[in-house]
Amino acid sequence: MKELIVIGLEVHVQLMTDAKMFCHCSTNYIGKKPNTNTCPVCLGLPGSLPVLNRKVIEYAVRLGLALNCKVNRVSKFHRKNYFYPDLPKAYQISQFDMPLNTNGHVDIPKENVKEKRRIGITRIHIEEDAGKLIHEEASSDLSHCSLVDYNRCGIPLAEIVTEPDFRSPEEARVFLMKLRNIVQHLGVCDGNMEEGSMRCDANISIKDAKTGKLGTKTEVKNMNSFKSVKKALDFEAKRQIKMLKDGEKIVQETRRWDEERQMTVTMRGKEEAHDYRYFPEPDLPPLKIDSKMICNIKYNLPELPDDRKKRFLEDYKLPEYDADILTSSKTMGDFYEQAASEYKKNKILSNWIMGELMRCINEEKTDIEKSPISPQNLVELLKLVDKGTISGKMAKDVFEKMFRTGKKAAQIIKEEGITQITDKNQLVEMINKVIKENPKSVNDYKKGNEKALNFLIGQVMRFTRGRANPDFVFSTMKKMLE
């Protein structure tokens, strides 16, 4: 049997409006003292009522339009009923049979080919987030109980449900990266999977390529990074394929990715699945959106990654590879453009960002937005190279120091005295000295050994501790040897 992997995703995206979905509490809950970012409404206290924050609609429509969805003029809120301590009303206000956005799609690059793969978006609905349970460590006085923090309650979420269109875990990962990039460009979410502002569940099953028969699916939860999505789905696909080969039956169940053990484990079976008893939310009237609002949002839609890439190709004349990388996240694109507005050698700039900057950022495991080197700082450095104050090679050292210390290029150069020697007489003197002291190499060169020239130049650089302008040394040395 030739197996095909079939994956569909459900992605929750926190919408970063100022206020929560149904009350005036802030959405900025991370790091706050537990249960201080709450009010009677998001705590679900008896008698409180939800009132929809219109900004949530705007953000969700933005997302719907960006994912090519049909925005429904009328949608409805439903209650999803279940008991859990992090859910203070014992129901979540969500959408059910009439979601806000339906029938969209996103194109992702196909592996190793120039073609694209189109991933269908079944629906995007909006709902409220729940609180968080905190289980104290065994050593704590409170180890016998669980604590609840309701600060996250009522944060608006958009749930994006895809068609089962992914044929590999890698495609799912690529889609999520692209989705993160889109929500960042839309300004609706930072797309941080580690901090949970973007969360992903997956349905996965195996299809018999010959008969087209679809196997039993499992749902995989608790994948808290792009990498773990890939790893979890790889594991789960292999597990299912092996079971099928061994003639075992796959059970429909919800499984959890165990990061420590690097495997998926059973969370709950089909019998334990909830009956959510969805019914229309009587506290909220149907959500009506007029075409004027949709037009308005469409008109004001920010530039999306695909368009930005096109623009990078056209305006900056960058190679496709560079444009791809530079527009793969909002912050990287922003960094490039801010620098490019003051520095016109587009490709050199691109090399520095993709090369030196990303290397330092990856080494430090940080983000480009937290980079100690601002786009202006980088431009200052590059201009010093162009002026000849330092060489390109020196610039790399200076860059490294800028990144580690946060100091500006000019300051480092001054402090360490690493300016280039621009006094030509001084350099000519040194070149003469090297020629005199290395007659053998001079002879070799004259006999036609090009390598000998490199050695001689290297000697000059060594004398000057790298502060000589290599171009000048090269041309002068060559002239003097002829």
Partner: protein, 495 residues
């Protein structure tokens, strides 16, 4: 005795500086001390704060500041409404000790208008019941006959008004919970159109049916309260963005040419003959006042009760799920896991009627049953609404009995839920349709029990039902009769 006066009278006397808010409040508490042991209308009495509030109102008057429109009027609040800093139990053990950090929008509005909160009124647990016997704490007695129920679920509010322990009260009405106790206690009770009054701070039983409304000694007081509590509230997305008229204006017009419809489906088996006769006599008065009366038909009436008990319980099963012992209120002592905490807390915290309705509603929403029960009930609801729309093309108001019988005896129906449910048969369709209705006293049984008449109006046309009720009240002197609670208490004291 200032406790016997209407809010309208109190305000005009205070404005004329003939009496002080303190005098009025003292009289209220004197009456409470006199009769409350027999009536048991209150779950909480706010004595110290009320007296403080009265003093500050008197200070304001003395300083010549503007006198608010309900200055010095005693207000009793059904315990289903949140009052900041005051225990709010909803008549349930499960909310024992819950003190809301906020007040219901209506409570705030009335307080700002100068009303003095006297206390929280007893009620059927979570407003589920028609006799106030489902209170987790104690039953309230009817001031007209303390062996009888005051009706429910706003029985405490109705009894407090009828016993002159308060001038005005707030009730809530999901299937008749303002009108039926108003009828049983001989007072005025108005259920506004759904969306007319903000529900913020009303502890939900059935969110698509619940409305807050006034319970008063006369129609004018109901109009005054409506003026204060009506209107859109940014905290309630279902409150209507409509202009609110001055309801007191409705008390200035006559009835000439008014078209009254009498729905034939309401005069059927089960209707007490005395009640029927009293309503018929009232209709004669309306004819004298210049109204035209005709019979109309609301063909889907018989499906109201089943539709109501599916929709209301479905919503209740969800609304009451939050009482789980985690955040506030009662928590059972358990050693087990979270589900045993839920189960034990809810088993011990809720009373039988509440459990019955939660189970019913959970069932109606369950997968596989939703279409047959909840969805079908919603379709019936649409038909009932259309029934009313049709008859309101031909008439301005409908008149029916409020309840099929006068007040029944305590314990008479408590073990027979289905019979109990029937006492709301005339009020339930109105909630399903979302339209307004008022109950006023229109006569007495031979045993001297008040009989209520229900006047039903078009959506958002509270003005007309107030006008129709007011004209009747002015014509007859039925209202002037006081409940015999004082005589009863005096007699008991002698014995």
């Amino acid at each position: 005795m200032f406790n016997q006066l209407t809010a309208g009278d109190i305000v005009s006397l205070i404005k004329k500086r003939e009496i002080s808010a303190c005098e009025v409040t003292n009289d209220i508490f004197k009456q409470i001390d006199r009769v409350e042991n027999n009536v048991k209308a209150f779950l909480y009495i706010n004595r110290e704060n009320a007296i403080e509030q009265a003093k500050s109102i008197d200070d304001k008057i003395r300083r010549g500041e503007e006198i608010p429109i309900l200055a010095g009027v005693a207000l009793t609040v059904k315990d289903i409404l949140a009052v900041r800093g005051m225990e709010t139990t909803c008549g349930s053990k499960i909310l024992k000790g819950f003190v809301p950090p906020y007040s219901a929008t209506v409570v705030r509005a009335l307080r700002e208008a100068g009303a003095i909160i006297i206390g929280k009124a007893n009620m059927d647990e979570f407003a589920m019941g028609s006799s106030t016997e489902n209170s987790a704490f104690y039953a309230t007695c009817n001031p007209w006959d303390t062996e009888r129920v005051p009706g429910g679920s706003s029985g405490g509010s109705a009894a407090a008004v009828a016993a002159d322990e308060t001038h005005i009260a707030l009730g809530t009405d999901t299937g008749g919970s303002i009108r039926q106790p108003a009828s049983f206690c001989g007072i005025v009770g108005l259920k506004p159109t759904y969306g007319r009054v903000s529900r913020y701070g009303l502890i939900a039983y059935a969110s698509s049916l619940d409305q807050i409304g006034p319970m008063t000694k006369d129609v004018k007081d109901a109009a005054i309260m409506m003026n204060i509590i009506s209107g859109q509230d940014k905290k309630d997305a279902t409150s209507a963005n409509l202009k609110v008229p001055d309801y007191l204006n409705a008390c200035r017009e006559g009835l000439k040419g008014l078209k009254i419809g009498i729905p034939r489906e309401y005069f059927i088996e089960g209707l007490d003959l005395e009640v029927k006769k009293t309503i018929e006599q009232s209709l004669k008065i309306y004819e004298k006042l210049g109204a035209e009366i005709s019979e109309v038909s609301l063909p889907h009436t018989e499906y109201s009760l089943p539709a109501y008990y599916l929709i209301a319980t479905a919503e209740a099963s969800s609304n009451l799920a939050r009482y789980d012992g985690v955040q506030y209120g009662y928590r059972a002592k358990v050693d087990g896991d979270i589900s045993s905490l839920y189960q034990k807390t809810r088993s011990e915290g809720f009373g039988n009627e509440v459990k019955r309705r939660i189970m019913l509603g959970t069932y109606a929403l369950s997968s596989g049953y939703y279409d047959d029960y909840y969805l079908k009930a919603q379709k019936v609801r649409t038909l009932i609404r259309e029934d009313f729309n049709n008859v309101f093309e031909k008439c301005d108001v409908l008149i029916t009995p409020t309840a099929p019988t006068p007040a029944f005896k305590l314990s008479e129906k408590i073990n027979d839920p289905l019979t109990m449910y029937l006492s709301d048969i005339y009020t339930i369709p109105i909630n399903l349709a979302g339209i307004p209705a008022i109950s006023i006293n229109c006569g007495y049984s031979r045993t001297n029990l008040p009989i209520g008449m229900q006047i039903i109006g078009k959506s958002f046309d509270e003005e007309t039902i107030i006008r129709v009720a007011y004209n009747f009240e002015q014509y007859s002197d039925i209202r002037k009769q006081k409940s015999p609670i004082n005589i009863f208490v005096a007699k008991e004291n002698v014995e």
